[in-house]
Amino acid sequence: MNDLELLAHESIAAGTVLLYATLGEILAERSGVLNLGLEGIMMLGAITAFALSITTGSVVLSILVAFAVGCLAGLLHSAVCVSMRGNQVVSGLALAMLCAGISSVLGRNYVGVPPRTILSAVKVPILSEIPCLGYILFQQNILVYLAYIVAPLLWFILFKTKIGVAIRACGDDPLSAESMGINVHLYRYLCTVLGGGFAGISGAYLTLSYTPFWVENITAGRGWISLALVILSTWSPLRAVLACYFFGFCEISQYWLQTLKLNPYLLGTIPYLATIAAISVVSVEKIRKLVGAPRALGKPYPED
């Protein structure tokens, strides 16, 4: 294993933090609901998973509960902005704050506590023996592998099944969707709830594997970056994989660059500046015309 392989390996590990949240948000936004609460939901997932892994020692249970808690947050968001037609931006910001607050209270006794179990790397038989790629792709932990399956699956559902057509119809033109017998509210609820659950998994991945300890604001803006990655991947789960791994690379590269004696605080701005640069690029008019946001994104239905 050389430095570059290590860099790629770590980039994928770092990108997976972003990937679940991004995939979940793609699902929600395809149905027409913008969830700005990702940052908070990730924190909530992070602390629930961390706390549970310490009290129970079960990694699987921790992940499942983090997913459930994320779903719950998504449920609150959809109740407010689907049923009650609340402003999605405001509701999302509120959710981000509320979840951040709750997770800091939840985590008050876990600051500085060492992890009890962490997700360890599992070598995939045969595949992990492939030179170079085997190490990069198939000597990771189980959540990384799960993402390999979830992303294409989500793509298949969105673009090859009737359910996916219905979801996209809800996000583009809910009134017309309703005229084809689609229960717009039900679909928006389901997608938002699941999207929240995915953000919960992102959080769990963070504290169970990537940075296995708890501090306040552990997510450090990754939730917001995921929102940008949804735009960068133009609402496609497959492009999201590339976008997230690339951003994983941006994050890892700062540690690598630190070895070149560059200032760590200034290097710390790389992911954020890269985010701004990335969404500026996709916002260029020509690209935006090819693949735009879901037309009804952020709008309540029915409108008054």
């Binding site: 700005l36 908070g40 609150l76 407010v80 902005c81 009650m84 037609r85 609340g86 402003n87 931006v89 405001v90 509701s91 910001l93 509120a94 959710l95 981000a96 704050m97 509320l98 979840c99 951040a100 607050g101 709750i102 997770s103 800091s104 209270v105 939840l106 985590g107 008050r108 600051v111 306040e216 450090a220 803006g221 917001w224 970056i225 929102l227 940008a228 735009i231 200032n263 605080y265 200034l266 710390g268 701005t269 954020y272 500046l273 985010t275 701004i276 969404i279 500026s280 916002s283 260029v284 008019e285 935006r288 008054d304």
Partner: protein, 357 residues
């Protein structure tokens, strides 16, 4: 059985501001359930937050001192939100104002007399805050880049810059290695109401700004343009309103006000640059709630800034007495916004259950 959601008639029993107040009360009620779940006594917490904070001069003066940056940030956000521009970056704009003020006072012209130094600090602080807002404004105006994300990202960048300065080039040699700069000279410090941390000039500026922003929004063609653009970009274009002008002016104004708030924190409270979390108690984020609660009315921002400032000071107090983390304030903030949306819905719509045979 069908559940129908019907719009109520235009005339409501409760005004929008009534609903804002109700939503704060409701949020406190819900928060008490959460506290109870965490085995924290709500009565004790609220006693600490409200009674103890407001029963002594120390508490009250801190409430007023925190109202200043909160009010300044929220006023700027009111302007942006009125125009439908989602500036979530007041926090970073405030920090950049603080950086500018410190730079002027420590390095640019530390020897100057007060009457030159202070205005320069305010001016450059405002310019720096405005510049930090101008970047996302131009990106939005020229390339339609989502401003929510860019302003948020710039908050993190601003934090990193402050950290870089206080850990790096601006670190005080006499600070025992703590992330602090040197203290600014006496002539760079703002006059206080004696015995309190309330810096008078900034208090004046913030109150005056409320009136000015009110006037601009209500009476001027600029205010009209902001409002028209805020309701519909398409119609605004038809109405010959310049999109670029609206976005840039609202963001720059907002950034400048947040920048001034940052100057106030340096020249009136801390007298030095320190870690971002010590400089700003999340004023840029809490300002969003103030703006929303006051229904984008600049005058209503004054009482709501005070109210949220009480919550903020009170939360600091319960951090110590009840051993809660500093993030607890976020629970209040988040709940207030959620409740506001819920009550808005209930005030606007009637839920009807129609039963059929």
């Amino acid at each position: 059985m069908i559940i129908k959601i019907e719009k109520r008639s235009e005339y409501n029993r409760y005004s929008a501001l009534d609903i804002s107040i109700l939503s704060v009360l409701l949020a406190l009620a819900v928060a008490s359930i959460i506290m109870w779940a965490f085995r924290v006594s709500p009565t004790r917490a609220y006693y600490e937050i409200f009674v103890k904070t407001l029963s002594n001069k120390y508490g009250i003066s801190h409430v007023v001192a925190r109202t200043i940056p909160l009010l300044l940030c929220s006023l700027g956000l009111v302007v942006c939100f009125k125009a439908g521009v989602w500036n979530i970056g007041a926090e970073g704009q405030l920090l950049m104002g603080a950086v500018a003020a410190t730079g002027v006072a420590l390095y640019l012209m530390p020897q100057s007399p007060s009457w030159i130094l202070l205005p320069t600090m305010f001016t450059l602080g405002a310019v720096m805050g405005a510049f930090w807002a101008l970047i996302p404004a131009l990106l939005k105006a020229k390339a339609r880049v989502n401003e929510i994300i860019t302003t948020l990202m710039l908050n993190y960048v601003a934090e990193k810059i402050v950290e870089y300065l206080v850990y790096g080039p601006w670190k005080s040699p006499s600070g025992w290695g703590f992330p602090l700069t040197d203290t600014i000279p006496d002539q760079a410090r703002l006059p206080l109401i004696p015995g309190t941390p309330v810096h008078i000039p900034t208090l004046g500026i913030s109150l005056l700004s409320s009136a000015l922003v009110f006037l601009v929004l209500r009476k001027t063609s600029m205010g009209f343009e902001l409002k028209v653009y805020g309701f519909s970009e398409k119609v605004a274009e038809y109405a010959t309103v310049s999109r670029t002008k609206v976005i840039v002016i609202s963001m720059v104004l907002s950034g400048a006000l947040a920048g001034i708030a940052g100057v106030g924190e340096i020249a009136g409270i801390h007298y030095r640059l320190r870690l971002p979390r010590s400089i700003s108690g999340g004023y840029g984020y809490t300002g969003i709630i103030v703006a929303w609660l006051s229904r984008l009315n600049p005058l209503a921002c004054i009482p709501f800034s005070l109210l949220l400032s009480v919550l903020s000071v009170g939360s600091d107090a319960i951090q110590i007495t009840l051993k809660l983390p500093r993030g607890v304030i976020n629970i209040f903030n988040g709940l207030i916004l959620v409740m506001l949306l819920v009550l808005d819905f209930l005030a606007k719509y009637r839920i009807k259950v129609i039963k059929h045979e």
